[in-house]
Symmetry: D2
Subunit: 390 residues, 4 copies
């Protein structure tokens, strides 16, 4: 029997019914004035999501990885020095992508579970008196470890060093579910995808670029063509793309932005904060440990949980899927097998989160994890009871 | 924000995605040979759902109440004596409908929470030597109290009294989720609706009639026209109805029957039995009481739960809906305010049930019910863990 | 290959995408305050569709045939005299239904193709000085012949005879596509279904009753229970029905009413008038004849077309369906085989109508009808060109 | 009022209902074994669409333009010489893209309306004794002019010159609607998109590469990262992508492939050929001229039509859209204003095509084009009548 259980992936996330309806449209001419209006409206409505008045949002038919590529190829040149931290699977992937494009990445290594090394960045930027560093990369929310980083601290480091490097931020699993303040934080490029906080299915890379980033285009010699931001800008002015617009995903995004606006972005962020804290309380009630180190780094969209020695998180996730038909995220990279992840971003409610907690408890007990059935659920219930607004 | 929480109503039930897709069709000619094939197929596939080889299934554009009316008006005449038990809101409603049609109902009263009084029926039938009683009504699953009755016991009472009365059964909230054996139990008319175990939205009355019931038509003088079974029979032979067929609901039903067949009816029944027992374990862990009296009467599709003195179940249900956006059934009739109901029929999974249990626990604690957060969830988890098949 | 050709049935009609989306919803509690608001809103918004301020709209889970039954059983008593005209398959069916309910129908016969015999009605009503006639039935738009009748002429006949009989009108295939002015025309009961001008799929009987009709209830002794208007009225006040509300169809109706309001009812009527005239011009260009006699009787929602001697309209319709995958209406009753019908009501456009005309032309020529390919299309094109508003 | 008119764009094309339903799914884990099976199945089922046993299909979250970029960046190096013909907007765009990637394109210019200059290619290849040319580009179906080219003639030119250049073909608007025989024609890279003959909405670049093309990867130094075919190949082996799979579009593609298989590819091609010939007959009946020169070059998926001197095709297309709500393609590039295009690929039927022809006739007459209403329709009807299979 087809089940209707929600997913607890850190993306793609559960698609609201309303959004599915909005995408279920017949073909319209993506070059028509009608569609152009919709598309321009969507681009405009993305601004508050990124927290920007000055920046310019972009949508590409691609994924978040495409977004990373757009960020660097339109602003940098082969051989350019880039400063980045390695502290999880997704920060590492972006570094690898930079290297594929011939960038010279200076990597600051940190243990998985730690956040962006803003202090070390500050030191390095201070020392970079020749201003060789052209960009600093921050993974705002490391999806692999459930760690949120302080983007504004990196911004401050740049400011204190009076350093002109561009600040590029991967907000794939944070934007639209956690506060993101592009203008306030001095972010030059922010990247996300459609299938996370924004809630449509995968297929769109969604970005915003500051005026400074847009100006960097002229000097940037990295190869880009499909991902050329200047071509896209021109086509966007006419409400289109340089190629066929993925119309149905754009309609999904339009509905998503409408839903976020109706709930109110601050309420959306507050909802995610509350739901995430409930998940953490459950983890602690189980006697387990978060991958994320330090309360200030806890992600409000995904929680990575270390499992006890001697168990295999991959088996746990497979068991939950096979026996209970509920999908969780596995551990990635360094922590494969050692951690599992609960995604709690996008269209989620307390009731849905409790489904996930109750299910993973059963799965853990099935596999002889030393945890108590109902214990995590009770801890989350108590927190939700006191903090959920009706 | 639109939530995606499941409903815990005893109907309409959660509609599987697959079934929603099947209903989302453009118009086709309901008099075309193509549609006729679909419709005949659906009628044929209903037979195993009712547990009948000999009986004839019918679909009317109506609700379960329409089904009750079809049952009696096509087989009985004003003034006919009918034997029925009063033991819940739905058994009472059917009695009232009989009286609206001029039938003379002999009612055996039982406390809400008890099942059909088969013993008393046996005595009455034995005494009815003039065979005045033309029909015996049984509410197989009293949705108001969560009580399942033993239909075959009533059949035995009829057989032992060698009594020719027709056996009519309301299986609205049991059929397709609990075992129903029309032929084995000697049922002459069985009634259900689309929006319960069958899973489409409301709008179809679904029945099956034995050959004996169909023959009773000729003597039956109750008024019927829209609900005339003979007209329907003739139109059905051509794969149609005497009026416009509600095509989209029929497509939903076709998909539902396909899903039930794929899972296997015995597996569907076993799933409901397991999920229901988990709900009961939760109730007991809360220290609360079922409305249903006696283990043999527990319904596997809906559980009605008595709340402690001094509380108002209506407020509880409203609170769960308003604060947590989860819908439960309230108490009806005699037990309005004194009980609430958890529907667990149709497309439900253990994960979904745990959502409901976790939510109602929060709602109860919010309203100062003396129960322990997580306690019911843990009891259900333990049961599901040991009994759910992957 | 699945085709996307529109249907040219006189109902069920083509369902707008928007309406399909609106119906594609998960289950909600049909007893919840949220749904009650929607439902009350829908009932209220039906008033302009019927052209009534004073009348009360009703929705039943049933078809138009159920609507006929609701009309008569809630207002009349067995033996009551009813005046009706026989001038098509649907006027005949309502007469037959009246007789099934024990009403004494005085029938005025007219050739198929003629309209309601208002003059003869006037004479009969004048002569009925004892006021035996309790109701006059009018089929506003006879779907079998494509004939629209003058309801107000019957109203005038009643007024001139100072006769208190109720005026009951079948507007199944006219309402929401052609002007209907319940209050102005003195209509007491107006009946339609969901699947015609209103555009959702079949499954709802939609009615409006005047205050006078509602008062007739108390004296009316026809049997009704499922179709009892008083029970429905009480439940409607709470935003519900006496049984489970067919929620998804109601959502479809809500969207339909919204669409009709956005286009503007007068524009909707004008669109149908224009499209219908184009169809008639095509018929004349083919050298064929309308069933409808007299320009004032031409229906703007369905056109019935007499085919030349020696041909079989059933074969024509089957051929169009099988070879070109386009569905037209066949001839019914007296004119079965002798006429076919083009439905042009609901969500139709000039482009869609031309699809139908072009297709039936091919089908006619395939079967050696003496008509010219493109001739009907050209006549309709010329008319649409000059009369369609962009 | 929302219309349900089909579109006559040369893509995106009309989406079959069944395909829309298939895409309307809740989220599933794109890394789950269940999805991996679906995805591998889709990749495998693409082979017959490309006409290849030996080649390997790929799907990227991108558009056809992305497909062009994938083709060249994974097989060529900056400075490599590429041979291409300029004979329409899309062949020109691919040339421009090559140049953006630093390729040295030798362009053979031809008038718009002509096909690939295979003879001139033969001469050039013969002369290229140093084998500087690394790839030959062919736009199989030039969407701007409605010209189909003979790919196998270019293949023969390569063979006769015994030349090792890769043969790369843009089949964006031909594949899945017109015959494409990758293996027989010696094609090394074939590119299409989701939104044309394949019928899902835009958002997927769909390609196939020969073993020779895959081997060229190792020497190719063009920049690629998101579009790296080797990374994709590895991920595909596990039923995934190197990034998040656009699951819903993949489900749409799966249904599309199922539909194409059910109809039978040869029947799909025959259907397009018949429908296209009807469109051409209409054009000639209007007294207008095709952009395409020479019967052997007529495209069966899009027809570009030259309009009379003194008219503006852009106005015609806008008028049809605004007044009749029907969307046609405008003229592009060199023939902007001078031609309009009728797309007839994907899920189209004779009835749908006649809708388009009838509509554009009205629009032309509205704007005083010297054409006869119904003339093109009649010519197409006559052809369809004699050639459509039921």
């Amino acid at each position: 029997m087809t089940t209707q259980n929600p997913v607890f992936l850190p993306g793609p996330t559960n698609i609201p019914d309303r959004l599915r309806r909005a995408m279920n449209t017949q073909t319209i001419d993506h070059r028509s004035p009608e569609f152009a209006e919709h598309f321009k409206h969507v681009l405009e409505q993305l601004k508050p999501i990124f927290g920007t008045d000055q920046g310019q949002p972009f949508i590409f038919p691609a994924t978040g990885t495409g977004g990373w590529e757009i960020a660097i190829t339109n602003t940098l040149s082969p051989g350019d020095k880039v400063l980045a931290g390695s502290y999880g699977a997704f920060s590492d992937k972006w570094i690898a992508l930079c290297r594929q494009h011939g960038l010279n990445v200076e990597v600051v290594d940190r243990a998985w579970g730690e956040a962006v090394p803003a202090d070390e960045f500050a030191r390095i930027l201070q020392d970079d008196t020749r201003q060789d560093i052209k960009a600093v990369l921050v993974t705002h929310n490391e999806t692999a470890t459930g760690v949120a980083s302080d983007v504004s601290a990196v911004h401050q480091a740049l400011e204190q060093a009076d350093h002109p490097a561009l600040l590029m931020v991967d907000g794939v699993s944070s934007i639209a579910s956690m506060p993101f303040r592009m203008d306030d934080w001095g972010v030059d490029v922010a990247v996300t995808g459609s299938q996370k906080g924004l809630m449509p299915p995968p297929g769109l890379a969604v970005l915003a670029m500051s005026q400074r980033a847009l100006q960097a285009y002229d000097q940037a010699t990295c190869h880009r063509a499909y991902f050329d931001i200047r071509d896209m800008q021109q086509a966007n002015e006419a409400g289109s793309m340089p190629y066929t617009v993925p119309t149905n995903l754009v309609y999904g995004l339009e509905e998503s932005l409408q839903m976020l606006q109706e709930e109110g972005l601050q309420q959306v962020f507050a909802r995610h904060a509350t739901l995430a804290e409930g998940v953490r309380r459950a983890v602690w009630a189980w006697g387990l440990t978060l991958c994320a180190q330090g309360r200030q780094n806890y992600s409000d969209t995904v929680t990575a949980i270390e499992i006890p020695e001697g168990f295999d998180a991959g088996k746990l996730v497979a068991h939950a899927r096979e026996r209970y038909k509920v999908q969780f995220g596995g551990g990635l990279g360094n922590i494969a097998g050692k951690a599992f992840r609960i995604g709690h971003l996008g269209d989620v409610t307390a009731a849905m989160i409790l489904t996930g907690l109750a299910t993973i408890e059963m799965a853990m007990v099935d596999l002889d994890y030393p945890i108590q059935l109902g214990s995590g659920v009770a801890a989350a219930q108590e927190y939700y009871r006191q903090n959920i607004k009706g």
